[in-house]
Amino acid sequence: MRTTLSDDSRTDDAVTDTPRRAELPELLMLLNPAGERVPNAEYEPFVADVTGDQLASLYEDLVVVRRLDVEATALQRQGELALWPPLLGQEAAQVGSARTLRPDDFVFSSYRENAVAYCRGVELPDLLRVWRGTAQSGWNPYEVGMATPSIVIGAQTLHAMGYAVGCLRDGVDSVAVAYFGDGATSEGDVNEAMIFAASFRAPMIFFCQNNQWAISEPVGLQAQRPIAERAPGFGIPSIRVDGNDVLAVMAATRQALERARAGEGPTFIEAVTYRMGPHTTSDDPSRYIDPLQREEWAAKDPLARVEAHLREIGVLTDELADSIAARADEIAGRFRQGCVDLADPRPLEVFDHVYAEPHRGIARQRSQYAAYLASIGEAQHEGEQR
């Protein structure tokens, strides 16, 4: 080995500090947990047009998606669903961002964005097909502007980036929105998506719901610094927003959308929120969650603050509250009914849509299996629901 001029030979040990970095703006909040508006000259203009009635409509969505979420959990407990990933606590992050999009925008999400899907107009039973196990996707992405959710963590962020570049090439000002979690930020794909998006100035939003947990892992395992600090290093502006504040989420999303539509490229939004339920209905958070932490977050509930505010400004009367509750119940009823009505697929559907064009291998296996089913007397199942 060459003679080492190693650091050991030095006497002075002037280890310097981590290079100084500007602190990122504080968490953006426009409506505090008590339901009071927080003044903010920079971001208020983004929601200045939201009337009391519109806020009430957002509130209704918050109530409805929470109701649906609770209903789905119940359906799972009753054996009607195989699994459900609750979004309890993340209603404002999802509704606030999704209600801000245009129909021609396109969402690429993970599995937990059921409130986003609801806001995109996905039919109620379609929200449940995957979780009941009758299909691997619930809806036609092109009908609602939302891709089939990705279960492989982070993969969808690249798809959003590609779609956004496609929008650029097509000369339209639609925007792609990638939803993902705090855990997802550790996957190579999410980082590659940021690199490509910056390079191509892709009109897209990286919408990270930092709900503090990736199953049992606290966000501190994935990130030593606030997640929003990563994007600027890639050349992507970012913002940390109170994810339990529907107005703040809306304002940040609108800012990002405008930037994207104006040709200024991607924005990264970290919506800081909390997963109030288990990871999924299969999870046992008692093994890892400190109940005190959960309680702290319960005090920052995304619905309560909107309710308080709407009462304060006189929009939410008891009457309206009742009618919203009734509407939520009614929707939940249809949701439940839609769930139990979901038909099982027919056996030979196992061979459908593997390829878009005819395929000799599949054709042969399909016929063989049909013959097999006939031989064991299951032929009658074909052509009719089982």
Binding site: A82, L221, Q222, Y288, V350, V354, S367
Partner: protein, 333 residues
């Protein structure tokens, strides 16, 4: 001897490995406080510390790449991939690094990694949670690939895998995690030796992992029908113990191979080809495969139509026996 479930047998194997060799470290997502989504590592972090049982950031390539570095430094890392369908982000690290480093360095660097993968279907799960990707790895030179079907094998083989100086993919048949059986911690056998589970003389069924139980049932059902089926549990998928299979087929002359993985290019093809080569003049019929269809793993309400089951195995037995079967009279279009 204690009675354990297959999952607990793996857990106790990991525990033994951690106590026997302080170079063993475990890496994975949610393996600490939670004990893994299947609780295989339950209590291990508590008992061996977070320096040896390490929760990993959510990145599979990162996990395997980190294990490579640890192996370079002389550790014996055991990595948990949470589900079969999440191993692909780590594919490059596994096939281009883990599998090749010993060869690349002409033996200077050892890669005694164990990569645990709960695999297979039949548990009613959503997409990516029911796959059988073993053939990708059996086709990769430099890796060893094993699986297990009993608590005893699970316990012994996880310890063998960890002790092995080569990288081992350890596939765990997740739908059999709750299977119970006696476990003798001192038991030993060669990790790459197949096991004749049921002796028989008319037909050989070769399988592994989750379908061993199904094959045993098939043998029982066939016995009622006067047929004597020999069931072989491969245990090691790479290398294959072809000698054991060959010996059986020399007797039976008839071979059925079953696996959950898609048929086209699956391990069944390798077994059929190798055995045809070795037993050409002993075969009474072409080897038959019973496998997943060549479609992506379907939604759970369709999985019974994807997964090989007892009836499909018996139908294949009828086929190699030249008896009436589903395809009698069937012709390809």
């Amino acid at each position: 001897m204690t009675e354990l479930t297959l999952s607990k047998a793996i857990g106790s194997g990991l525990r033994r490995a951690l106590s026997d060799d302080d170079r063993v470290v475990i890496l994975g997502e949610d393996i600490g406080a939670l004990g893994g989504v299947f609780r295989i590592t339950d209590g291990l972090q508590r008992d061996f510390g977070a320096d040896r049982v390490m929760d990993m950031p959510l990145a599979e390539s990162g996990i395997i790449g980190m294990a490579v570095g640890l192996a370079y430094r002389g550790f014996r890392p055991v990595c948990e991939i949470q589900f079969d369908g999440f191993i692909y982000p780590a594919f490059d690290q596994i096939v281009a690094q883990v599998a090749k480093l010993h060869y690349r360095t002409r033996g200077a660097v050892r890669m005694p990694l164990t990569i645990r993968v709960p695999y297979g279907g039949g548990i009613g799960a959503v997409e990516h949670h029911s796959e059988s990707p073993e053939a990708y790895f059996t086709h990769t030179s430099g890796l060893r690939v094993v699986t297990c079907s009993t608590p005893q094998d699970a316990h012994t083989m996880i310890r063998q895998a960890i002790a092995c100086d080569d990288p081992v993919l350890f596939f765990e048949p997740k739908r059999r995690y709750w299977t119970k059986g006696e476990v003798d911690e001192e038991a030993d056998f060669p990790m790459d030796a197949a096991r004749v589970v049921v002796p028989g003389t008319d037909v050989t069924i070769v399988t592994y992992g989750p379908l061993v139980a199904t094959a045993i049932d098939a043998a029982a059902a066939a016995a009622d029908d006067g047929l004597s089926i020999e069931v072989i549990d491969l245990r090691s998928l790479s290398p294959l113990d072809l000698e054991t299979v060959e010996a059986s087929v020399r007797t039976t002359g008839r071979l059925v191979i079953a696996h959950e993985a898609q048929e086209f290019g699956g391990l069944g093809a390798e077994i059929a080809t190798a055995i045809t080569d070795r037993c050409f003049y002993h075969l009474e019929a072409a080897p038959a495969r019973v496998a997943g269809f060549d479609v992506p793993y379907p939604a759970s309400r369709l999985e019974e139509h994807f997964l090989p089951d007892l009836d499909r195995m018996l139908d294949a037995v009828d086929r190699v026996m030249g008896r009436e079967n589903a395809l009698s009279g069937w012709s390809a279009s």
